[in-house]
Each structure stands twice: as structure tokens, then as C-alpha cells.
Amino acid sequence: MVGSFGPIVIAIAIATAFGLLPLFLSGLIIPKMPDRVKNAPYECGVETIGPTSIQFHTRYYLYALLFVIFDVEAVFLFPWAVAYRHLGLFALTEVVIFIGLLLVGYVYAWRKGALQWV
């Protein structure tokens, strides 16, 4: 087993070393003179102010939720579409009912103003 896989392992090891060794060596010999500009996170552009992890407003949640629900719908539609020719009319009826049920939920969400940005 090692025999057939061995060369690849050796190749990976050499490639890794080839990449890392110059970085390591240059790190040893270059002079280090840090200043404020060099330490900045970006060399150009606007500096960040305050903590970078911010909270999203919960109103995004509603869109994420609606997206997930109608997205997962595709999980069931895809196999049906692939096997459409074998399944025939009964499966078509079932899918229409399935989408109809989702449509009721969609109409409800719409009428209730869940799709409005408030």
C-alpha cells in the first residue's frame, strides 16, 4: 500500500518544504524595523474603527427563514424533475399539491407583510 502511495507522499513533502523553507530562511536574516504604517492592517484604504464583529439586525432573519424554506422545497422538486418521465401524472398531481401548500404559506406571509422591509 505504501509502495503505490509513497511517491505522492514524498512529492507533497518536498513541495511543502520548497514553499516554507525560503520564508523561514528570509525570516531569519532580514532586518526587522516595524513602524506604524507597516503594522497597519491595510497598507491602503480606510482604517477600521471599533470591533469588526457586528450584530446583524434580526429583520434579516425573516428573509433567511423564508429563503431556507423555499430553498429546501427544491430538494423535493429536483428528484421529481429527474425522474419525471417514469413517474407520470400521479407524481405531477402530488407536486402540484405540494407547491400549493407552500403557496398558501407564501400568500399568508405576503399578506401579513413579512416581505415588507420595515
Binding site: 400521479f90 401548500l101 398558501v104 400568500v107 399568508y108 405576503w110 399578506r111 401579513k112
Partner: protein, 476 residues
């Protein structure tokens, strides 16, 4: 493929959809009476599909054997429809308070009932899992309905997280069972399990029992019950304690009897231990509770223990006793909870000590609560007494004498805390007269429940006969 077999569930789902759309297009002005009328119509149509099927008496199955209709499923479905109807009747004032969202509440209750009915009828593990989750997820929302009250929101979140955990455990058990047998049909699993118990099979059995044990709140999977029962709005607690529990037992009995008869000795032992621990812990902890909903939560845990005794008995007679017990328990618990809905609304308190002198202030409520509690304790001639007798008798005949002895001891303990509430209501003088009149719908619901408690007790022979007939169709 016979789609008509789904008519009872479809009627409920259609009623829910109509209520939701009517609400959406009436800009929130749908009246409480209209909502309840639509819901009642859905329930009535659903029952109208079930009763002829019961009279025809022909078991039918559809969807490649994933869905079955026989005496057993019809018994449970009628029980759940009845319970849903009574809960809706009893939730009048709560519906008025749930301003702006009552249509959604009723629709969600109907959908939960439809899911529980699907669960009772499913004979295939995918269908079973989907209907179980559908019921559980909507229940989590129902428990958190008063989302601006911390107690309610917290109850919903606790129920949701623990339920999701237990579902995952249950699923792993199902996956193992599928791996061992290559089947997801319950009778197919039974066909493949001929070799007896293997370690993998025992692990699957333990995981399944842990998952189902959570649904019926058997100790040690009961931790969610008191918190959720206390925090959820009381009508929802009533619904949870009867409909979900009945469906939970239906599915335990079906899976154990249909899919796992090959390891009956193993599961009888496990269920017997669960039953012993459940009733003992439930009763002992119930004694120290001061909140009536919490006390009743522990009381329902104890009741689940008694029902598990019948499940452990496992014979036709034992199953009949389980079915009868669930009917008696449904009527009794609904009586107790509907009375508490009204009492807590009027006194503004759920503490048992604040029920003092209730018989002078609200004689009918006090009487109803007293009768329900006595039935839960198991006093003749009420429904709870005969239910216990049947369950214990079936267990004695299968050699579970020790379990029955423990059950009788537990019943004696339980009398202590049930009687304490009755003592408060009848013996302690009232601090002040409480104003208020009950809604007529609530009184009607309460009366039906209490009449059920008496009827199931006095005509217990007749109802037990029905239950045994229904139970027999399970193992056919």
C-alpha cells in the same frame, strides 16, 4: 393508491389553511366565533370521515404500506379530535387575550392534531419521523405563544431544544434499526429480526426508547415536562398533556408490538423499569409542588408511569387497558386543566394555597377540579379507578406482580397531594369573594369532560370492550 384514507387529516389541514387565508385577507379582523366555527367544522368533518370507516371495520392501508387505518388508529384519532375540540372550547378567554394572533393559534392547534393523527397511522419510519417532528415543532411554537412573557418564551425554547435533542437520539436508533434490517416498514423490520438480540439491536432499542420516552415524559427523560407545563399558556398545557401524550403512547405501542416482537423479553424489562421509576419519581416530586400546573405536570409523569405498566404487560388485554387508560386520562386531565384555566384566570394565581375556599366562590369549578383530581388518584367509581384496575390486572397476569405492588403504593402516595388541593378548596375558608363569570363555551367543555370521567367510570365495562376491540386490530 388510496388517497381518500387521508381524508380525516386533510380536513383538519384544509380547515387550518382556510383559517389562515381568511385571517390574512381580513386584515386581522376575523372574529373569535368565526375562527372557532371553522375549526369545529374541520374537526366535525374529520370525525365524519372516521366514524363510517370504523363502522365498516375493514382495515385499509395505503402509500405502499406507510399509512394504515384500522380500529386502533381510529380509536386514537377520535380521542384526539375530542381532546382538541374540548381544548378549543376551554380556551375562550385565552383566545381573546392572544390578540391579533388567535387565528394562527387555532390553525396551529389543528395542524398539530393532524400531525398527531398521521403519527398514529404511520407504519413506516420515515412517515413516523416526519409526523412526529411536525407535531413537535408546532408544539414548541404553541408553548411559546405568549412571546412577550418570559415564562412562555422560555418554555417554548426549552421544549424545542430538548425535543430536538431527543429526536436526534431517536433518529440514530432508527438509523441503526434500518442498518440491521434494511427495512423502514415496521412489519418488514419484524420479518427481518429473527435471530434475537444482538448488541447493535439492543443499542437501537435503547435509543428508540430514550427518544419515545421523552415524548411521553417518562423518567429520566422528563426534565422538560414541569417547566414547559408551567410556562406554556394553560390551554396549551392541557392540549400537550393529553393529545401529544396519547399519540406518544400510540407510537410506542405500535413500534414495540409491530416492529420489535423479536426482542420482546428485552423491551418488557426496560419498559417495566421505566414504568417503576417514572411513577415513583413523578408522585414523590409532585408532593412538594406549590404551583398547581407544576404539580399536575408531575402528576402526568406519574400517570405515564401507570400507562407504561400496561405497555410492559404487552398482551392483548394489556393493550386494551392502555387504550382505556388513555381515554380515562384524557377526560380527567382535560377536566382538571380546563378548571385550572378558569380558576387561574379568575384568582390570578396558580398557587394551590390560593385555591382556598373555592367551593364557596365557584362551586362548579371546584367540584369539577375535585372530581378530576380524585379520578387521577384512582378513586371509584371514577374513570381513573377502573383504568388502573385494568392496567394492573393485565400486568399481574403477565407476572409483573412487583410492578403492580409498586403502582398500588404509588397510588396511595398520590392521594396525599391530590387531596391537599381538595382540602384547600373545600375546608379552608375563602379570603375574599372573586368576581367574574365563566364563558359558556368553557363551562360546556368542562361539563363534557367531567361527564366523560363519570361515564368512563360507570360504564367502564362497555368502554373497555371498545378499547380491547380496537387494541386487537393492532396485532392482526
Amino acid at each position: 393508491m388510496n388517497v381518500a384514507i387521508l381524508s380525516p387529516e386533510i380536513s383538519l389541514g384544509a380547515a387550518a389553511a382556510v383559517i389562515l387565508l381568511a385571517e390574512a385577507f381580513s386584515a386581522g379582523n376575523l372574529s373569535r366565533v368565526a375562527i372557532l366555527a371553522l375549526a369545529t367544522l374541520g374537526i366535525a368533518v374529520s370525525a365524519a370521515f372516521l366514524i363510517p370507516a370504523q363502522l365498516a371495520g375493514v382495515p385499509t392501508s395505503s402509500f405502499s404500506g406507510a399509512f394504515i387505518q384500522n380500529g386502533f388508529t381510529i380509536y386514537f384519532k377520535l380521542l384526539m379530535l375530542m381532546a382538541t375540540f374540548l381544548v378549543l372550547l376551554g380556551s375562550g378567554r385565552f383566545l381573546a387575550q392572544a390578540e391579533g394572533r388567535r387565528a394562527e393559534l387555532v390553525a396551529l392547534v389543528l395542524l398539530t392534531t393532524a400531525a398527531l393523527m398521521l403519527l398514529v397511522s404511520s407504519t413506516e419510519l420515515i412517515t413516523l419521523y416526519i409526523s412526529l417532528e411536525m407535531a413537535s415543532l408546532s408544539t414548541a411554537f404553541l408553548a411559546a405563544w405568549m412571546k412577550h412573557q418570559e415564562r412562555s418564551a422560555e418554555a417554548g425554547l426549552k421544549f424545542f431544544l430538548l425535543n430536538a435533542l431527543s429526536s436526534a437520539v431517536l433518529l440514530y436508533g432508527i438509523a441503526l434499526l434500518y442498518g440491521i434490517t434494511g427495512q423502514t416498514q415496521l412489519n418488514g423490520i419484524a420479518r427481518e429480526l429473527v435471530g434475537g438480540a444482538t448488541p447493535a439491536l439492543l443499542l437501537a432499542l435503547a435509543l428508540l426508547l430514550a427518544g419515545f420516552g421523552f415524548k411521553v415524559s417518562a423518567v429520566p427523560f422528563h426534565m422538560w415536562t414541569p417547566d414547559v407545563y408551567e410556562g406554556a399558556p394553560t390551554p396549551i398545557t392541557a392540549y400537550l398533556s393529553v393529545a401529544s401524550k396519547a399519540a406518544g403512547f400510540a407510537v410506542i405501542v405500535r413500534v414495540l408490538q409491530t416492529a420489535l416482537p423479536g426482542v420482546q423479553t428485552e423491551w418488557v424489562g426496560l419498559i417495566a423499569i421505566l414504568a417503576a421509576v417514572t411513577m415513583t419519581v413523578g408522585n414523590i416530586v409532585a408532593m412538594v409542588q406549590t404551583n398547581i400546573k407544576r404539580m399536575l405536570a408531575y402528576s402526568t409523569i406519574a400517570q405515564a408511569g401507570y400507562i407504561l405498566v400496561g405497555v410492559a404487560a404487552g398482551t392483548g388485554q394489556g393493550l386494551g387497558a392502555v387504550l382505556f387508560y388513555l381515554a380515562a386520562y384524557t377526560a380527567t386531565n382535560l377536566g382538571a386543566f380546563i378548571a385550572i384555566v378558569e380558576i387561574a384566570d379568575r384568582t390570578g394565581s396558580e398557587r394551590t394555597s390560593d385555591f382556598a375556599g373555592l367551593h364557596a366562590r365557584a362551586p362548579w369549578l371546584a367540584f369539577a377540579l375535585a372530581i378530576s383530581l380524585l379520578s387521577l388518584a384512582g378513586l371509584p367509581p371514577l374513570a381513573g379507578f377502573f383504568a388502573k384496575i385494568y392496567v394492573f390486572w393485565a400486568a399481574i397476569q403477565t407476572g409483573l406482580g412487583w410492578l403492580v405492588l409498586l403502582g398500588v403504593l404509588n397510588s396511595a402516595i398520590s392521594l396525599f397531594y391530590y387531596a391537599q388541593v381538595i382540602h384547600h378548596m373545600y375546608m379552608v375558608p375563602a379570603p375574599s369573594p372573586a368576581p367574574g363569570r365563566s364563558l359558556p363555551t368553557l363551562v360546556a367543555g368542562l361539563t363534557v369532560a367531567i361527564a366523560g370521567v363519570f361515564a368512563l367510570g360507570i360504564f367502564s365495562g362497555f368502554f373497555m370492550g371498545l378499547a380491547e376491540t380496537a387494541a386487537r386490530t393492532l396485532t392482526q
